[in-house]
């Protein structure tokens, strides 16, 4: 089928990707495409009878990037394969790849029919929420490299990183939990059924029937006691070894006594036992555990440097470029870094203009220009043209990874223990043991049997089942409510810590300032014409020149200019500058000075004051960047570019200032000091020019003063401080992007809700305490019977589930109610 290009003035959309086609379109097989990439994907699908892809959604395609197969050469390396493959033997292998461009049902369909495009692929399965695909393939017929190239060529390029390994353990633990719940639920239902005759009055003379049922009950109790309760025993023993009485200690005591007394009674035919209560107890406890953990498929709270760096880098040997994994980099290797790529190892600049953006690592917001021969540290991002560097240190020896290893050593002691439940259980256990011993001793004077009944009965009924359920259900509900508002918390214990915070430390760059947005103002020298100081023609000319530059300030200018010229369709501005009379001639970019070009006969210069001419500009404000403009060598004015703070920052500070102390720690220079002093209360500590280690030290110092610190940061430069604080929150505008290790991830758009989140954490703890009170009431009722030595199975069987269900309903109900009141639901 032939295809041809044609110019068009009509507005149409690409059949494959749905983008608006402007200017030139490609016609193929009676359909329109925006570029040859889309057309090629269509051809591949057509030839392999996969056009059903287009029938599920309209324009489901993704515009593919240009694929040079040499980019994936490093996948042939054995070590790399070992780290990426799930499993591999002589013939078969399996790999799980993350494909960010999966977005619709057509994607699922196509990716699960991958075997039609490569005969070596046996099967593939997509996990939509995780945006992953697991491919099983025959190693003799195809290779990992071929599969990745195939995926990239149809627009589904996988994102290759080394950090997906931790997730496997999580799923194994969840699976084991599901087994336990299944068995506990099964035994719970059946043991209740088998206990009914006993409760509802089987003729006491029918002893065989009673025995049969009780033995069946015992049979059901065995797997529950040995398998389902296993975790509680291990946790209790671990706690006792450390000298801590955690919540699992009284639970373990209760379980042991329930089973022990039941077994004794059943085997000696003296009673019916409490097996149904045992099974019910375990069932509710395990349900609580499931509810407490919420995994976010796309997020990772524990990223380290391995997930920040790319997986491969281009090296040059004797003029030939090859791609190798970064772990293979040796001292003396020559590497090629392109625009927007991260430098993976400490290296010296050999060739090219380097402007390195270290904002993520040190917090400095402007890119730093480096000269030839200067050392460039790993972790920075190149903004500019292609540069070549000579590697000085291996990746694992670079300054960045050393720094990170240092931070890793600052492990958080608290982990996932709930402070609240541990405190309560300590007092609770002592009180109950004391009561049981006292009552038992009292009855010993009269009747041994009653004494034993009372002792064991008290310990059984006072089991903190309701206590152990209140916390997971309340905080689990809170976790989910937060998640819906894009505040992703790692574990319920974080919410408890949040409720106790009294000091908030902010990072500046990227956290309270918006990295993508800036406010730009044109200040003209001829102030009479200030409002429309530039004509539309002039603006388009400036846009044309600025578009050719890669400096971040030029990009900001382009965005602002295109909005002011044609606010609805910036792509049309692109075409205007592509044609006469707005084509740019003699474009030059002088690093550190500025850019210039000739448009329609006029010389446009943009840059520093000396380069473009500062004319009679007034005194330079400290917190702004200036791009001076001259047209035909006449200075016309300057663009003033200032940082924009996040929406709602003022309201956030205003709402929090009464309860919390603030501090701002920045890796950037002092230029924003005056503005920050206006925003924050007078007592706020403002520190600048800090290294990542400085930040860590300051947070540690605050903690030694007894403060409970919440650290909010966004980049690697905050990683140490985030670890050292009581709670660390990473703010990001793109949750799929890399974030440093933290306890919670907050989306930039939800930043203004921070006071509400803190307030609601306090409310949640209040709800937990309220439910404790209700749990105690139930315990009192049970104790009334137990103290008399009269705790019968039926009383226990009614009390336990009743209290559990009441607590579950109460906690989730109250949490939702208050969430609605706070506006979170």
């Amino acid at each position: 089928m032939e295809s041809f290009r044609q110019l068009t003035t009509e507005v149409s959309t690409c059949y494959h990707c749905g983008e608006t086609i402007r200017g030139e379109q490609i016609v193929h097989d009676g359909k329109l495409f925006c570029c040859s990439g889309c057309k090629v994907v269509y051809e591949i699908l057509e030839q392999n009878n996969l056009c059903q892809y287009y029938s599920f959604e309209k324009s489901p395609g993704v515009q593919p990037n240009v694929v040079e197969s040499s980019r994936f050469d490093f996948l042939l390396d054995e070590n790399v394969q070992k780290q990426l493959l799930n499993f591999s033997d002589g013939t078969f292998a399996s790999v799980t790849l993350t494909v960010p461009s999966i977005h619709c049902s057509s994607c699922i369909w196509l990716l699960e029919h991958l075997y039609r495009l490569d005969a070596g692929i046996t099967s593939s399965q997509v996990d939509f929420l995780k945006k992953q695909i697991t491919i099983a393939f025959n190693k003799t017929k195809t290779s990992l490299k071929n599969i990745v190239i195939l995926l990239a060529s149809i627009g589904y390029e996988p994102e290759l990183r080394f950090d997906t390994i931790g997730k496997k353990e999580e799923s194994a633990a969840t699976r084991s939990l599901y087994y336990k719940i299944g068995i506990a639920g099964f035994c719970f239902g059946n043991s209740m059924l088998f206990s009914f005759p006993e409760y509802l009055g089987v003729d006491p003379t029918e002893t065989t029937l009673r025995e049969i049922f009780s033995y069946l009950n015992l049979l059901l109790g065995i797997p529950v006691f040995f398998y389902c309760s296993y975790d509680y025993f291990t946790s209790a023993i671990k706690g006792l070894r450390k000298g801590i009485i955690n919540i699992d200690v009284p639970i373990a005591i209760g379980i042991v006594l329930l089973f022990g007394r039941s077994a004794y009674e059943i085997l000696t035919h003296t009673g019916a036992g409490f097996i149904d209560s045992l099974c019910g107890l375990l069932f509710f406890l395990l349900l609580g555990r499931v509810f407490q953990s919420k995994t976010y498929d796309r997020l990772n709270f524990e990223r380290n440097y391995k997930s920040y760096f790319p997986i491969s880098v281009t090296t040059k040997k004797n003029g030939i470029e090859t791609t190798i994994p970064i772990s293979s980099l040796k001292r003396g290797d020559r590497i090629v870094i392109r625009n927007n790529e991260i430098i993976p190892a400490d290296a010296i600049l050999l060739r090219g203009n380097a402007a390195i953006d270290y904002s993520f690592v040190t917090g400095e917001s402007t890119p730093i220009e480096k000269v030839l021969g200067e050392m460039i540290y790993a972790g920075g991002k190149q903004v500019g043209g292609i540069i070549e560097l000579e590697v000085m240190k291996e990746v694992s020896q670079s300054y960045l990874t050393q720094l990170w290893n240092k931070f890793d050593a600052v492990k958080k002691e608290q982990g996932e223990l709930s402070e609240l439940s541990n405190t309560v259980s300590k007092y609770f256990t002592y009180a109950v043991l004391a009561l049981a011993t006292a009552v038992g001793a009292y009855w010993l004077q009269y009747d041994v049997k009653t004494a034993i009944n009372a002792f064991t009965g008290i310990l059984i009924v006072a089991c903190p089942c309701a206590l152990a359920i209140a916390i997971p259900f309340t905080l689990g509900t809170t976790l989910r409510i937060f998640g819906r508002k894009h505040f992703y918390v790692k574990h319920t214990s974080v919410i408890e810590s949040l409720a106790k915070i009294n000091t908030i430390v902010f990072d500046k760059t990227g956290t309270i300032t918006h990295l993508q947005k800036s406010s730009v103002e044109f200040v003209a020298y001829n102030s009479a014409r200030d409002n429309d100081a530039l004509t539309a023609d002039e603006k388009i000319a400036i846009y044309a020149v600025a578009k050719n530059s890669i400096h971040p300030l030029s990009k900001v200018l382009c965005d602002v200019l295109s909005e002011s010229v044609s606010p609805d369709a910036s792509s049309s501005l692109n075409e205007i500058v592509g044609r006469e009379p707005y084509t740019v001639e003699q474009f030059t970019e002088t690093v550190g000075k500025g850019i210039s070009g000739v448009v329609n006969g006029h010389l446009i210069k943009l840059g520093s004051g000396e380069f473009a001419g500062s004319g009679n500009a007034n005194h330079h404000e400290v917190n702004e960047s200036r791009v001076y403009l001259s047209i035909d060598n006449i200075p016309r004015g300057y663009f003033s570019i200032t940082n924009v703070y996040r929406d709602g920052l003022e309201t956030v500070i205003h709402r929090l200032r009464d309860k919390y102390e603030f501090a701002v720690l920045s890796g950037d220079n002092e230029s924003e000091k005056v503005r920050l002093q206006k925003l924050f209360p007078r007592s706020t500590e403002l520190r600048f020019n800090l290294t990542p280690v400085d930040k860590l030290d300051i947070v540690r110092y605050f903690r030694t003063l007894g403060k409970r610190v919440l650290m909010i940061g966004d980049g690697l430069n905050d990683a140490g401080a985030l670890m050292q604080s009581n709670v660390g929150i990473a703010v990001t505008d793109n949750v799929a992007q890399f974030t440093p290790s933290s306890d919670a991830i907050l989306a930039g758009d939800s930043f203004s809700l921070l006071p509400t989140f803190l307030r609601f954490s306090n409310i949640s703890i209040g709800i937990v305490i309220t439910s404790f009170v209700f749990a105690f009431l139930y315990n009192l009722v049970g104790l009334y019977f137990a103290v008399q030595g009269a705790l019968s199975p039926i009383v226990a069987a009614i009390l336990m589930p009743a209290s559990s269900i009441t607590i579950v309903v109460l906690t989730t109900g109250l949490t939702h109610l208050f969430a609605k009141r706070e506006g979170l639901l």
């Binding site: 009878n49 056009c51 059903q52 029938s55 599920f56 049902s105 699922i108 369909w109 699960e112 399965q125 997509v126 996990d127 939509f128 929420l129 995780k130 799923s171 969840t174 699976r175 599901y178 087994y179 299944g182 068995i183 099964f186 059946n190 065989t208 029937l209 049969i212 069946l216």
Partner: protein, 69 residues
């Protein structure tokens, strides 16, 4: 009496069967991805559509050859 024993054992066996089915479902990984299967069942079978386009292609190419000559 014996009837009761029979009924109880039968129901128990059936119940155990269900438990076994649940455990097998968890083991085979059905609970790892709770979302994608819901999309997968809505994707159509291609068996029917395979035949039609081919016959269309044949007729159109025939048509083209006639007009060319």
């Amino acid at each position: 009496m014996s009837v009761l024993a029979l009924i109880i054992s039968c129901s128990f066996v059936v119940a155990v069967g269900f438990l076994a089915a649940f455990l097998w479902a968890v083991k085979s990984g059905q609970y790892e991805d709770k979302y994608t299967p819901s999309v997968r069942i809505l994707l159509d079978e291609e068996e029917q559509t395979k035949l039609q386009p081919q016959s269309d292609e044949i007729s159109t190419s025939k048509h083209l050859t006639i007009t060319k000559s």
